[in-house]
């Protein structure tokens, strides 16, 4: 009869350990939407960079002062929409599970996500202002991947492998810079949708 009590104890221990140390209400939907916004952003960026060129000939990435501004605006809008979707779906999920949205797990997750991410953002901004446009897309992938790997200790396990994939994609596109935007669309768009769907299916039931 004690057997059952100890079995329950072990279950409780595991449950409390994971609830107290990991943020588990991450919504798969937020990943799917972030991916869709990223694809939209990548398409808009593609149109801006390669605009007004003959479709049949070899095309150059043309970046002028104005198009640089357009690109920045596209990037900011994409970022804002993705973060907005993330906050919306995740807080909805958290309320559903009767957990607090803003507790120490959330804080710890966000801080650990932010350290590599903000560093990367500043690095990219500096390089952008110095005119190194081509390596921005690969670098955002790499820093985003590092941020995910760093934050994965405090949330669902899937985040870690997603981070590693982003890093690898970033390194590949750094080598083949001409495909930067394409790989960026795969990393931020397709991968988010794939992982979002996977997590939605796995944790929804």
């Amino acid at each position: 009869m004690n057997q059952n009590k100890y079995l329950r104890d072990l279950q409780d221990i595991k449950d409390i350990m994971s609830r107290s140390s990991r943020f588990i209400s991450l919504s798969g939907l937020s990943g799917i939407f972030a991916g869709l916004f990223a694809l939209g952003g990548a398409y808009a960026a593609y149109q801006t960079v390669y605009s007004g060129q003959d479709y049949l000939n070899h095309r150059y990435a043309v970046i002028t002062r104005e198009s640089l501004m357009t690109l920045l605006i596209i990037a900011l809008v994409t970022l804002a929409l993705s973060i907005g979707a993330g906050i919306f779906f995740t807080s909805r999920e958290t309320r559903k599970q009767n957990e607090k949205v803003w507790d120490h797990q959330t804080r710890r997750l966000l801080i650990n996500l932010a350290i590599p991410l903000v560093t990367g953002g500043i690095v990219c901004l500096i390089l952008l202002l110095k005119g190194f446009v081509g390596i921005i897309a690969p670098l955002t992938l790499i820093f985003y991947g590092l941020a995910l790997v760093n934050a994965s200790k405090y949330t669902l396990n899937e985040v870690r492998s997603l981070g590693i994939i982003e890093i690898v994609l970033g390194l590949i596109s750094l080598q083949f810079i001409g495909y930067g935007l394409l790989v960026w669309a795969i990393g931020f768009g397709v991968m988010h949708i794939v992982y979002g769907t996977m997590m939605q299916l796995k944790y929804k039931s």
Partner: protein, 96 residues
């Protein structure tokens, strides 16, 4: 069987104390309110169990002020950690 029961720690027999230890071993520290929300217990209940764990030297705390409000951060001691690990190992052995 006898020697296994010896390793089971009386201090962790209680559900709340077991919960406190589980939460603290995977976190650097937790404050009183975080523990309260996590374990869904009343102030008095939590305080008395924390006190007893403190007495066994399994848990320590640090009082400080955040935004002029007192805030107590609890963390597990080295003794507490090893006692807890021993306790879990004993349970696992029992269930085998």
């Amino acid at each position: 069987m006898k020697h296994l029961l010896k390793d089971l720690n009386k201090a962790f027999e209680n559900k709340v104390r077991l919960g406190i230890m589980s939460a603290l071993v995977v976190n650097d520290y937790l404050d009183f309110n975080a523990l309260k929300e996590l374990l869904e217990v009343t102030d008095g209940n939590l305080a008395s169990h924390l006190k007893s764990l403190e007495k066994s030297k399994y848990v320590t705390f640090k009082k400080e002020f955040r935004d002029r409000k007192p805030n107590t951060r609890y963390s597990v001691t080295k003794e507490g950690r090893s006692a807890f690990v021993k306790h879990i190992k004993a349970i696992e052995q029992l269930l085998k």
